[in-house]
């Protein structure tokens, strides 16, 4: 075979392979729901995700440590054995300046039914003060998890909620490593990451997240940050609300009021 012939055949083969591959890529990306029209999502109830931007204010002073939020979240979202979408930390500061942080154990770590979805009363005799801090995904404006996901399976919606598209997730666990708040966990059911979704299925129907409705003291306030009359905006305006680990530049949208310096 002459060199020219050989090169001509190579060029034809490469063109054919290129066309085939681009065809596959277009097909797969279209079937995975990546077409641009999905950016203008308006659901059956007329919900327009461009008109909202959600956030939450947590007031630890109001939290009484009843763990109702955790149970409501578990019932609503069928939370599996290995993690919580939301959890409540109990901070005990002793008279000799020790900080003891505890949280209910996940089902796989729990050996005693007393510490599952609740904490047994503290046995520390020397308590200076004690308080509770509810934790959840902070739905960061600049979320590190959406940045690092190699396939875009975790993404931010236009209304500011960070979600996971489980059928797209390859299960690499990079997002779990990247979250500074420990909000993500490995879901043994889906074999990929899972976390709080702000109960997106409820929120888009005009309801509150399950944890917010279950809280008996109103320690969690949820609402639309675009609506100046919403409870969440008013709570922020009252002052003293700030996000966790702000130095990391993630710009969390869960704000904590009057947070004690011991909170991690």
């Amino acid at each position: 075979m002459k060199r020219r012939e050989f090169l001509e055949k190579c060029a034809k083969a490469a063109t054919g392979a290129g066309l085939m591959f681009s065809g596959v890529a277009v097909n797969v990306s279209a079937s995975a729901g990546l077409s641009k029209s999905s950016k203008k999502l308006i659901n059956q109830d007329g919900y327009d995700w461009n008109k909202h931007y959600y956030g939450m204010v947590v007031n630890p002073d109001k939290c009484i440590g009843c763990y109702s939020c955790m149970r409501a979240c578990s019932d609503e979202n069928d939370v599996q054995d290995r993690g919580f979408r939301t959890w409540v930390e109990r901070y005990t500061i002793t008279k000799d300046d020790k900080v003891i942080i505890e949280s209910p154990k996940t089902r796989d770590q729990s050996t005693d039914k007393d510490d599952y979805f609740q904490l047994p009363p503290s046995k520390e005799p020397n308590i200076e003060r004690q308080f509770f801090v509810p934790k959840l995904c902070n739905h960061c404006t600049d979320a590190p998890c959406t940045q690092v996901c190699p396939v875009g399976a975790t993404y931010k919606t236009n209304d500011g909620v960070v979600l996971i598209d489980h059928p797209s997730c390859v299960g690499c666990g990079y997002c779990i490593q990247s979250c500074p708040y420990g909000a993500r966990f490995w879901d043994t059911n889906y074999l990929c990451a899972n976390k709080c979704s702000f109960c997106y299925h409820r929120v888009t129907k005009g309801l509150n997240p399950a944890c917010v409705d279950a809280c008996p003291t109103g320690a969690r306030v949820f609402g639309d940050l675009k609506d100046p009359e919403s409870a969440v905006v008013k709570a922020i305006r009252e002052g003293g609300a700030k996000g966790l680990k702000r130095s990391l530049g993630t710009k969390p949208k869960v704000f904590y009021k009057n947070l004690s310096q011991e909170v991690v």
């Binding site: 797969v28 959890w87 020790k98 690092v148 190699p150 396939v151 490593q177 708040y181 909000a183 074999l191």
Partner: protein, 385 residues
């Protein structure tokens, strides 16, 4: 104020031994390639006996570099998503393209390096199917004129030149995956990619030195002393830079003394303990540095020199492997709460267990030895001339 150990309830050590094995294997690939480039591109003639051998080693390890990742993924069947629908904001999304193009380059380079042999087999193998297979491999171009051979050589040289930055990107990228995570104070450092790259070169040179010696031993041939000493020289040099950068990173963290330093110090001295101080720094770094230093200073007899180099090469690989472990697992032992530590339990069985790691290692060894066996006579010629 003193915190008692607390870790967030969702935290587990999610990245296990497979994610330790993955950077180790890609490191061997990148390192072996860079060693070969010293001969093919930078004119280190004394490395001729390992010039082509190291490229074959790179391919042998590279062929299985993705296996640990596939074993780790929750959904390995979706792994192609990373190339079909990548999120280009993610450093990890580059993997498929970087790895894929590097492997294509490696196969191409091997093709040019061994084309003469392939053509010879296509012409003269006693077996019909081998003749046919080699004819297909040679793309039915069976010319072996001096001009064609010169062109092969030139192409291999060009591919090596393109391959060096690609090998650096391949492994620097692995380091970047860790170094760019601001959530983890043990990982978050711009030095991590450079350290990964240097340790890759160390493990590659040491790995090829071992393979070369084993290959010579099995053929009952004395290894080329000049080649071994040259590898000892390069190993010594790269190990010095590697260990210096690793220490620099720790010293930098200590000197800065940010709030996480206390945790990092505890991680190094208590949680990782033996694995960091003894295995990585004393046995894996100090001992081979002293051995190689003595070897290069005093140039003892051939047998003792070879022995010292081999011990250093084994220990250098222990250093790199333990460094991968200390980075990957160590980073996850540090809780994101900043006030607690996890435990790590070795799994023996299972998809990500120790046995699976050993099987991958064995598969790499089998492929490398098969490739060497195929090109045995060619490589033997390299070693003589």
């Amino acid at each position: 104020m003193e915190y008692l150990n607390y870790v967030f309830p969702n935290e587990h050590v999610e990245w296990g031994l497979m994610i330790v094995a993955y950077p180790y294997i890609t490191g061997l690939v990148a390192g072996a390639f860079i060693l070969s480039s010293l001969y093919h591109l930078f004119g280190a003639k004394e490395l001729k006996p390992v010039g082509r051998l190291s490229v074959l080693c790179a391919l042998g390890f590279g062929a299985f570099a993705t296996l640990p990742l596939l074993l780790h993924l929750g959904h390995p069947t979706r792994s192609f998503f990373i190339m079909i629908r990548p999120n280009l904001n993610s450093a990890m999304s580059g993997f498929g393209f970087i790895y894929g193009s590097y492997m294509v380059l490696l196969v191409l380079e091997i093709w040019f390096l061994f084309r003469a042999e392939i053509v010879n087999w296509a012409k003269s193998s006693p077996f019909g199917f081998i003749r046919f297979f080699c004819r297909v491999l040679a793309l039915n171009v069976l010319e072996l004129t001096p001009g064609a051979l010169r062109l092969d050589h030139k192409m291999a040289k060009i591919l090596t030149a393109v391959g060096i930055p690609m090998a650096c990107v391949l492994h620097g990228y692995v380091g970047f995956i860790f170094g760019s995570l601001k959530a983890n104070p043990w990982w978050s450092s711009p030095l991590i990619p450079i350290i990964f790259l240097l340790s890759a070169i160390v493990s590659g040179i040491a790995g090829v030195a071992l393979i070369y010696w084993i290959w010579c031993f099995l053929r009952r041939v004395t290894p080329d002393q000049r080649c071994l000493m040259s590898m000892a020289k390069y190993l010594f040099g790269f190990l010095i830079i590697d260990v210096t950068l690793e220490l620099l990173e720790i010293i930098h963290k200590a000197y800065e003394g940010k709030e996480e330093w206390e945790m990092v110090w505890h991680l190094m001295t208590e949680t990782l303990g033996d694995s960091m101080i003894w295995i990585q720094f004393v046995i894996g770094s100090a001992v081979p540095l002293v051995l190689l230093g003595l070897l290069l200073l005093f140039r003892p007899g051939a047998r003792l020199s070879t022995f010292m180099l081999l011990i250093s090469a084994i220990l250098a690989n222990v250093q790199v492997l333990s460094m991968r472990f200390n980075v990957v697992i160590g980073g996850q032992l540090l809780s994101k709460s900043g006030v607690g530590f996890h435990d790590f339990n070795f799994h023996i069985w299972g998809r990500e267990g120790l046995i699976a790691c050993l099987v991958i290692g064995l598969m790499c060894a089998l492929l490398v030895s098969t490739l060497i066996k195929i090109f045995n006579s060619t490589l033997a010629n390299d070693a003589i001339s």
